[in-house]
C-alpha cells in the first residue's frame, strides 16, 4: 500500500483516536521521540534520536508504596495504548532484544505490560550518518520483523507493509492505495543505496570471546584510564553511553520518602554500569573501582558477552559514539581487540 507524504499528519491524527502516538520530532538540533497527537512537527527524515524508544518502555517505575506500618503494590495505570511512529531498524531490533530479555527467565510485568499495550510503525532507514554501523550487524538499514506496520520512503509517498493483525486493522481505516511491483523494486533500490552510505563497521562474530579472553588488553587501559585509542580521551564515567544505548537495561532501586518520612514509594530507574557506585557494596568495597574495569564490562556487554548475552548486545545505532564526551568509539575498541 502507499501513503502519500502529504497525508502523514492526517494519518497520525487518525491513529491518535485510538493510540497515544509518539514520533521523532526535531528539538533544537536534536531529534527526540515526543507525543504528536496531530502529526505536527513529525520528522521522518531523521537519522537518530538522542534517547532510544526504551524511554517509553523502561525508564522509571514505582515498585511499591509504603506507609508507616504497611506496604502495598502500586495501582497499575490505566494508560492509553502507545503507538511509536517511525522507529528505525536499529531501534526496532533493540526493542525486540529487550522484549526477550524481560521475558526470558522471569516475566518483568512492568515492561511486558507496556510493550503489550504498544504498536510499532517502523521506518526503513535511508539516512545513516558517519556514526551508524547497523549494516555490519544485520540490524539495518532494512527492517525484517517485529513491526505492526513498516514504512519505506519512496520519494512522494511511503510504501506501507503490514506485519501483524493489529497493523492490518490500523491501515484498514486509512483507505490506502495499493502498491505495485514497481514500488517494491524502488524500495529494494533505495535500501541498496542506503547500505552503501555506511562509514563504520564492526566485526562482531567472536568478539565477546575475544574480549573475555583478553581482560588485560591495552584497549581497556586506553579507553578507561589513559585515553588515546583512535584519538579518544579517558572515560569520564558519565554514563551517557548506557543512557542512550537502546539495549542497556540496568536499573537502580531506591526508596523515595515523602516529607513526613512516614510514607513513600520504592522506585526503579535506569542506571549505568559506568557510574562508580554501580558495583559498590556495604563497607565501601567496590568490585569495579577503576574505569578500565567498568568500560570493559560495558563494552563486553555490548559485544554480547555479559549477563544479558545477545539480548543486550549492540545494534549499531551509534548513539554511544555520538554522545561520548571523550570520543570513545565502540567500533575502534573492537578493531583494537581484533588487532586491526
Amino acid at each position: 500500500m502507499l501513503l502519500e507524504k502529504v497525508r502523514i499528519p492526517w494519518a497520525v491524527a487518525h491513529l491518535s483516536k485510538e493510540y497515544k502516538v509518539f514520533g521523532p520530532v526535531t528539538r533544537r538540533s536534536y531529534v527526540s521521540f515526543q507525543e504528536i497527537p496531530d502529526g505536527e512537527g513529525l520528522n521522518l527524515e531523521y537519522t537518530t534520536t538522542t534517547l532510544p524508544p526504551k524511554k517509553l518502555f523502561h525508564h522509571a517505575e514505582t515498585l511499591l508504596h509504603y506507609h508507616k506500618e504497611d506496604f502495598s503494590a502500586p495501582k497499575l495505570e490505566s494508560d492509553q495504548h502507545v503507538l511509536l511512529f517511525g522507529v528505525h531498524p536499529c531501534d526496532l531490533n533493540a526493542i525486540q532484544r529487550m522484549d526477550k530479555f524481560f521475558s526470558k527467565d522471569y516475566i518483568d510485568s512492568y515492561y511486558c505490560r507496556r510493550r503489550e499495550r504498544s504498536v510499532i510503525v517502523a521506518l526503513n532507514c535511508g539516512v545513516p550518518d558517519d556514526k551508524c554501523f547497523c549494516a555490519s550487524l544485520g540490524t539495518g538499514p532494512d527492517v525484517k520483523e517485529g513491526f505492526d506496520l513498516l514504512l519505506t520512503d519512496l520519494g512522494e509517498a511511503y510504501l506501507v507493509e503490514v506485519g501483524t493483525s493489529k497493523g492490518k486493522t490500523m491501515v484498514a481505516k486509512l483507505g490506502l492505495k495499493n502498491a505495485s511491483q514497481t514500488h517494491f523494486h524502488e524500495k529494494a533500490r533505495r535500501l541498496r543505496e542506503a547500505s552503501k552510505k555506511f562509514k563504520k563497521q564492526i566485526r562482531m562474530e567472536g568478539l565477546a570471546k575475544q574480549a573475555a579472553e583478553n581482560p588485560n588488553h591495552e584497549a581497556w587501559a586506553l579507553i578507561g584510564d589513559r585515553g588515546g585509542l583512535a584519538g579518544c580521551f579517558a572515560c569520564l564515567s558519565c554514563g551517557n553511553c548506557s543512557m542512550v544505548c537502546p539495549t542497556c537495561y540496568c536499573y537502580e532501586v531506591a526508596e523515595i520518602p515523602d516529607v513526613s518520612l512516614k510514607e513513600g514509594i520504592r522506585k526503579r530507574e535506569l542506571d549505568s554500569c559506568q557510574l562508580l557506585e554501580y558495583a559498590l557494596v556495604a563497607l565501601g568495597q567496590n568490585f569495579r573501582p577503576d574505569r578500565r574495569y567498568r568500560t570493559r564490562h560495558w563494552m563486553t556487554c555490548k559485544f554480547g558477552g555479559a549477563g544479558g548475552q545477545q539480548n543486550t548486545s549492540c545494534v549499531g545505532c551509534g548513539r554511544c559514539i555520538r554522545s561520548c564526551p571523550s570520543h570513545i568509539d565502540l567500533t575502534e575498541v573492537a578493531r583494537s581487540l581484533w588487532g586491526e
Binding site: F71, V253, R266, A279, C301
Partner: protein, 276 residues
Amino acid sequence: MPRKAIIKKIEIETYDSKTYTFEFEDGGPKGLDFNPGQFVMLSILGYGEAAISIAHDPDDKSGLDLTIRNVGSVTDALSRMKVGDLVGIRGPYGNGWPIDDAVGKRILLISGGCGCGTITPIILAHRNDQSRFKFVEVLHGARTPNDIIYRKHYEEIWPKIPNCNVLLSSDTVPPGQTWKHKVGFVLSLLKDMKSTPEDTLAFMCGPEVMMKFTALDMLKMGFSEDQIYCSMERRMRCGLGLCGHCQLGSKYVCKDGPVFSYAELQELPDHIIRGS
C-alpha cells in the same frame, strides 16, 4: 512484591551482629522452602532492600533466621528495630550450595566474618540427619574473638554433633579478649583440619581476599578446582537477573550464583579469586 514478615525474635551475636527470626504474616506458610546457600531480599520500609543469606535450619518451616551484621543503611535501620516490627522478604533466590552432589561425601565448610550465615543451614541439616554426609568439618574465623558470630554454637553445641569437627581462628586477640583457639587467618586452620581432598567438597564464604588465599592453599594440598565452591557477594537490587548490578562477566551472581566453583570463577572477570 515482597511478602510481609514480622520480627519474632532477636538474638545478639556480637557487638554488630544479630540473628533475627522472622515469620511471614501474609496468610501463607510462616517459613520458606530453600536450598542452603540461597538468599532473600530483605526490605526495610523507607530504607530499601538488601540481599541476605539464609541462616536457617532447612528442615524447619516455622520461620526464617537471618544473621545480619550492621554494615549499611538497610542493616543499620534493621538493627534499631524490635520484635513485632514489619519487614518485607522476597525469595529465596540464587542456586545455593551443590548439596545433592555432596550427599554421601565429606563436606568442608570454611567461613570468615559474617560469611558463616550461609554455611549454617548445612551444619543444621547435618545435625538433624547424619546419614546425609559422611563427615562435616567447619573452619571459621573472624578478625577478633568478639567478632565470632554463633560463638556458643561453635564452641559448645556443634562440636557435639556426630561426625562433625569445628575449628576456630581469630586474626588477632586484642587486650581484654579471651581466646583458647587458633590465632591467625582462617587458612591457618587448613593445617589442623582432619579433611583431606579425598571424597570432599569444600564450601567457602567470606571476604574475597580470604577465599582467594584459602583456595590457593587448598589447591596446593591437592584439592581440585571443581571441589572448591565460593559464595560471592555483589550489589543486588532485584535478585532476578534483571537489574544488572551483580554481573560477573556473563553470569548474574543473583541467578547463576551466588555459589560458583573455583573452576567457574577462573572464566569470570571482576573478582580476585584466582592464582594471579
